[in-house]
C-alpha cells in the first residue's frame, strides 16, 4: 500500500472535514435561534422580532450554503479516497449516511428553500414551521452522521464475514453508548457556537448604540441559550472522557501524555514527550487528579501509552499503536480550555443581562467580539482529538487507516485534488467571510439600495 497516498488522503480528509465543520455547528444552533425568534414574532406580532429573524436568518443562509456544498465532498470522499474502508464497513457505515440524506437533508433543504422564498406566500405560522423543520432536520442529520462516526470509534452490532464487517443489529448502532455522548456534546457545541456568534455581533452594535431594540433581545436570548448549552457541553464532555478511559484508553493516555500506567493517576499540567524515544522531556503533574476525573474518586488505574502499546502488540500483532501525542495532548487542552473560558463568558453575560447592563458603558462587552473564535477553536480541536486520537485505526481495533486507502490512486492524483479542493475552499472562504462581515455590520436596518455610479447604472439596465 502506498504510504504517501495514505498521508495525502488523510490531509484531504482533514482539510475537508475541518472546513465542513467550520460551518455546520453554526447551522445547528442558529437554525434553532432563528426559529425561536420567528416563533416569538408570530406569537406577539412584534415587528422587532421579524427584523431579528430576518437579520440572523440572512447570516444563517450565507453560512448554510457553505455547509451544504462541502457536505457533498464529505460523503463522496469515503469512496474516492478510502475505497477499502468503504468495502470493509459499507454494510454498516452506509446505512446511517443514506438515512441521513433521506430523513434529514431532504427536509432541511426543501423547507429552507420554502422559508427563504416563502415570506409572502405562506401564512405566518406555516412560515415559522418551515424554519423549525430546518432546525430539527439539521440536528437530526447530526445524529445520523454521528451514529456513523461512533461506529468508527467504538464498533458495535457487527459480525466479521469474508473479510468485511456485516451488520447484525441495526438497533445496536442506535444504542451505541458512544453516540449518546457524542451526539448531545456536538449538538450543544453547535448551540454554543451560535450563541457566541449572536452575542459577539450583538455587542458590536450595542457598543455603537445602534438598533438596540433588535440587538439587546438578541444578546439576552443568546445568553440564556448559550449558558445552558456550554454547561451541557462540559458536563457531557466529562462523561465522554470517562467513557474514553474504558473504550479508547490509548486516546486518553495520549491526551494526558501518560507514558506509564498509574494508580492513582496524575493529571498533566504541562508535559512534553519525545515520541521518537518515548521519554518525557518536561512533566508537571498533579497527583490523583486524573483518577478523580476518570472515576470520580481519588484512585483508580489509568493505563499508560507504553503499556497499551505492549498490550496491543500482543493482541493485534507488531505495529505502532501510538497516535501523535503532541497534537492530541494540545488539542485536548485547547478544547477544554476554550470550553471553560466560554463558561466564564456566559456567566459574565448572564450577570450583565440580569442587572440589565447592556450598554456602551459596559466596556467588558468588547471582549465578546473576539470570543466568537472560542467555539470554533473548541470545535476544530475537539474533532482533531477525536479523529487523530483514534489513529492508527480508522475503525477502532478493526481496520488500520493505512489499509483503508484506495489502492488505485497515485500520489499525483491525490495532490491534484488536495490542491484543487484547498484552493477552492480558500477562495470561497474569503467570499463567505466578506459577506458575513458585510451583513453583520450592516445590521438589521431595512435594506436600502446604495447609490450607484454611472457605470454601475449601465449594468443594471
Amino acid at each position: 500500500m502506498n504510504s504517501s497516498v495514505t498521508i495525502l488522503s488523510q490531509w484531504q480528509f482533514a482539510v475537508t472535514s475541518v472546513y465542513h465543520f467550520f460551518f455546520v455547528p453554526l447551522t445547528l444552533g442558529l437554525s434553532v435561534l432563528v426559529a425561536i425568534m420567528e416563533t416569538i414574532y408570530v406569537r406577539t406580532g412584534n415587528e422587532r422580532y421579524k427584523r431579528m429573524t430576518k437579520f440572523w436568518g440572512k447570516l444563517f443562509v450565507i453560512n448554510f450554503a457553505m455547509g451544504v456544498v462541502t457536505g457533498i465532498v464529505q460523503e463522496f470522499q469515503f469512496g474516492m479516497n478510502w475505497s477499502e474502508y468503504s468495502r470493509y464497513v459499507g454494510d454498516i457505515f452506509g446505512a446511517p449516511l443514506a438515512i441521513e440524506a433521506l430523513l434529514a437533508f431532504f427536509i432541511e433543504s426543501t423547507f429552507l428553500g420554502v422559508w427563504i422564498f416563502g415570506w409572502d406566500r405562506l401564512s405566518k405560522p406555516l412560515h415559522a414551521a418551515a424554519i423549525w423543520l430546518v432546525a430539527i432536520a439539521s440536528n437530526l442529520s447530526a445524529f445520523w452522521i454521528l451514529v456513523a462516526n461512533s461506529f468508527m470509534q467504538s464498533p458495535v452490532g457487527y459480525a466479521e464475514e469474508g473479510g468485511r464487517l456485516v451488520m447484525q443489529q441495526f438497533s445496536a448502532l442506535l444504542t451505541n453508548p458512544y453516540v449518546w455522548g457524542q451526539f448531545p456534546h456536538t449538538v450543544f457545541s453547535g448551540f454554543t457556537t451560535a450563541a457566541f456568534f449572536v452575542m459577539g455581533i450583538s455587542t458590536y452594535h450595542l457598543l455603537r448604540r445602534k438598533q438596540e431594540d433588535v440587538f439587546k433581545p438578541s444578546f439576552q436570548l443568546a445568553t440564556v441559550f448559550g449558558g445552558i448549552s456550554i454547561l451541557m457541553v462540559i458536563l457531557i464532555g466529562h462523561n465522554q472522557a470517562q467513557q474514553m478511559v474504558r473504550l479508547q484508553p490509548m486516546k486518553i493516555a495520549a491526551a494526558e501524555a501518560l507514558l506509564n500506567t498509574e494508580n492513582p493517576a496524575s493529571f498533566s499540567v504541562f508535559s512534553v514527550v519525545d515520541q521518537q524515544t518515548m521519554s518525557e522531556q518536561v512533566s508537571l503533574r498533579i497527583p490523583r487528579v486524573l483518577s478523580l476525573l476518570a472515576y470520580n474518586r481519588l484512585d483508580g488505574e489509568v493505563k499508560g501509552i507504553l503499556d497499551l502499546q505492549n498490550e496491543y502488540e500482543q493482541k493485534y500483532g507488531p505495529g505502532n499503536y501510538v497516535p501523535p501525542i503532541g497534537i492530541i495532548y494540545w488539542s485536548f487542552r485547547i478544547m477544554v480550555g476554550s470550553g471553560f473560558l466560554m463558561l466564564a463568558f456566559a456567566a459574565y453575560a448572564l450577570y450583565r443581562v440580569l442587572r440589565n447592563q447592556l450598554n456602551a458603558e459596559t466596556r467588558w462587552l468588547n471582549l465578546f467580539l473576539p470570543a466568537m473564535a472560542l467555539p470554533y477553536l473548541a470545535n476544530i480541536f475537539g474533532w482533531l482529538l477525536t479523529e487523530m486520537g483514534r489513529q492508527p485505526w480508522v475503525v477502532y481495533g478493526k481496520l488500520r487507516t493505512a489499509d483503508a486507502v484506495s489502492p488505485n490512486l497515485t500520489p499525483g492524483m491525490v495532490i491534484t485534488t488536495l490542491l484543487g479542493f484547498t484552493i477552492v475552499y480558500g477562495l470561497l472562504m474569503v467570499a463567505d467571510v466578506y459577506l458575513l462581515r458585510k451583513y453583520a455590520i450592516a445590521g438589521a436596518e431595512a435594506e436600502l439600495p446604495k447609490p450607484r455610479t454611472v457605470e454601475e447604472q449601465a449594468y443594471w439596465e
Partner: protein, 338 residues
C-alpha cells in the same frame, strides 16, 4: 423479487429523480448568462430555481448514500475509479451552489458577473459528466478480478462516453429551457421557448447518435435484443413529442414529455446494466453485480423499511414546495425580494 433487485430499482429511481429535477436547474444554470439580458432578468431566471435546487441535489446525495449502504463495492469501485472525473464534478457542484446563494448578496456588477459565469460553468461540468459516467457504466471500464478499477482518467474519455455526455448536456439544457418558459413572465419566457427549439434539435441528434452507438459499443443486443422494447423506444418517441409540443407552444406538455424522455433514457441504462452495476471491460466475470457488490441481508432489510416509509414522504413535501412556488416569476420587487 429479491432485495438486491429492489435496491437496484430504488437506486435507479433516485438517479431518475435526480436527473429529472436537477436536470432543469442545471440547464437553467447554464442558460443564465445567455438568456438573462440584464440583472433583473437574471434574477428572475435564478428565482425560478432558487427555492428548489438544493432539495433537488439531495436526490444525488441520497443516491450516493444508498449505493454506499446497499452496494458498498459499487460505491467503492466507482468513486475511487472515476476519481478525477468526480473531483471535477464536485468542484462544479460546489462552485455553482455557492454562486447561486452568493450572487445577489452584493451589488457590485463585477461580483455578480463573476458568480453568474460560475453558475454557468459549474452547471455545465456536471451536466456533461453525468452522461460520460453513465455511458461508461454500460460500455465497461477496466475492473479486475479483485473489483479494483485499474484504468486511469483517460480510460473514461472515448467516443461513446462523449456522446453520452452530449445527451445529458443537451437533455438538461432542454429541460432547463422548457422550465424557464413555464416559470417566467415575458420577455424571458419567449426567449426560453426559442432556445428550447434549437436545443431540442441538438438533443435529438445526440440521442439518436448515442442510441446507434449503444448498439456498437455495448452488449445491448444480448441484453435487450434488436428490438430493444418499449422503454428505449418510448424515450425517443417522448423526445419527438417534446419537439412537437414546443412548436405548438404547449410548455406544460413539452416539459412532461421531456421529463418522460429523461426517465426512460435513464431507465434504459439501468435495463442494459441489470443485474450488473458496473461492466468490466476486461472480462464479463469481473463485472460488478447486484450480488457480488451487495451488503448483507440485515442492512438491505433495514434500509428497505426506511426507504419505503420515507421516499413517499419526500415526494409529498417536495411536491408541495413546487406547488407553493407554482406561479411564474415576474420582474416585480415582490418576486425579486431575495
Amino acid at each position: 423479487m429479491d432485495l438486491n433487485t429492489l435496491w437496484f430499482i430504488l437506486i435507479a429511481v433516485l438517479f431518475v429523480g435526480y436527473f429529472v429535477l436537477e436536470g432543469f436547474d442545471l440547464g437553467v444554470g447554464i442558460l443564465l448568462p445567455f438568456l438573462g439580458k440584464n440583472d433583473t432578468q437574471r434574477r428572475m431566471i435564478l428565482n425560478t430555481i432558487g427555492p428548489h435546487w438544493d432539495g433537488n441535489e439531495v436526490w444525488l446525495i441520497t443516491a450516493g448514500g444508498a449505493m454506499f449502504a446497499a452496494f458498498p463495492n459499487w460505491y467503492a469501485t466507482l468513486f475511487s475509479g472515476f476519481y478525477l472525473a468526480l473531483f471535477l464534478m464536485l468542484i462544479g457542484l460546489i462552485v455553482r451552489g455557492i454562486a447561486l446563494e452568493f450572487r445577489s448578496k452584493d451589488e457590485n456588477p463585477l461580483w455578480r458577473k463573476f458568480w453568474d459565469w460560475a453558475t454557468c460553468v459549474g452547471s455545465f461540468i456536471p451536466s456533461l459528466l453525468w452522461g460520460v459516467a453513465f455511458a461508461n457504466f454500460i460500455r465497461g471500464v477496466p475492473i479486475n478480478a479483485q473489483k479494483y478499477y485499474v484504468g486511469g482518467f483517460w480510460d473514461l474519455i472515448n467516443v461513446y462516453s462523449i456522446l453520452g455526455g452530449l445527451v445529458t448536456l443537451f437533455g438538461f439544457l432542454l429541460q432547463g429551457a422548457i422550465f424557464l418558459s413555464l416559470k417566467t413572465e415575458e420577455p424571458i419566457a419567449s426567449a426560453a421557448r426559442r432556445a428550447a427549439r434549437r436545443i431540442w434539435a441538438g438533443t435529438t441528434v445526440a440521442l439518436v447518435a448515442a442510441t446507434i452507438a449503444t448498439y456498437l459499443f455495448t452488449d445491448i443486443l444480448e441484453r435487450l435484443g434488436v428490438n430493444p422494447g418499449p422503454v428505449p423506444i418510448g424515450a425517443v418517441l417522448a423526445l419527438l413529442a417534446c419537439g412537437w409540443f414546443i412548436r405548438q407552444g404547449r410548455d406544460g406538455w413539452a416539459f412532461a414529455s421531456n421529463t418522460l424522455a429523461i426517465v426512460l433514457s435513464t431507465a434504459t441504462i439501468f435495463l442494459i446494466l441489470y443485474p450488473r452495476v458496473l461492466v468490466s471491460s476486461l472480462s464479463p466475470n469481473f463485472s460488478l453485480t447486484i450480488y457480488n457488490s451487495a451488503s448483507g441481508p440485515n442492512t438491505l432489510q433495514t434500509m428497505t423499511i426506511v426507504a419505503l416509509i420515507f421516499v413517499p414522504l419526500v415526494l409529498l413535501y417536495q411536491g408541495w414546495s413546487y406547488w407553493v412556488f407554482r406561479k411564474r416569476v415576474s420582474a416585480s420587487p415582490k418576486d425579486l425580494h431575495y
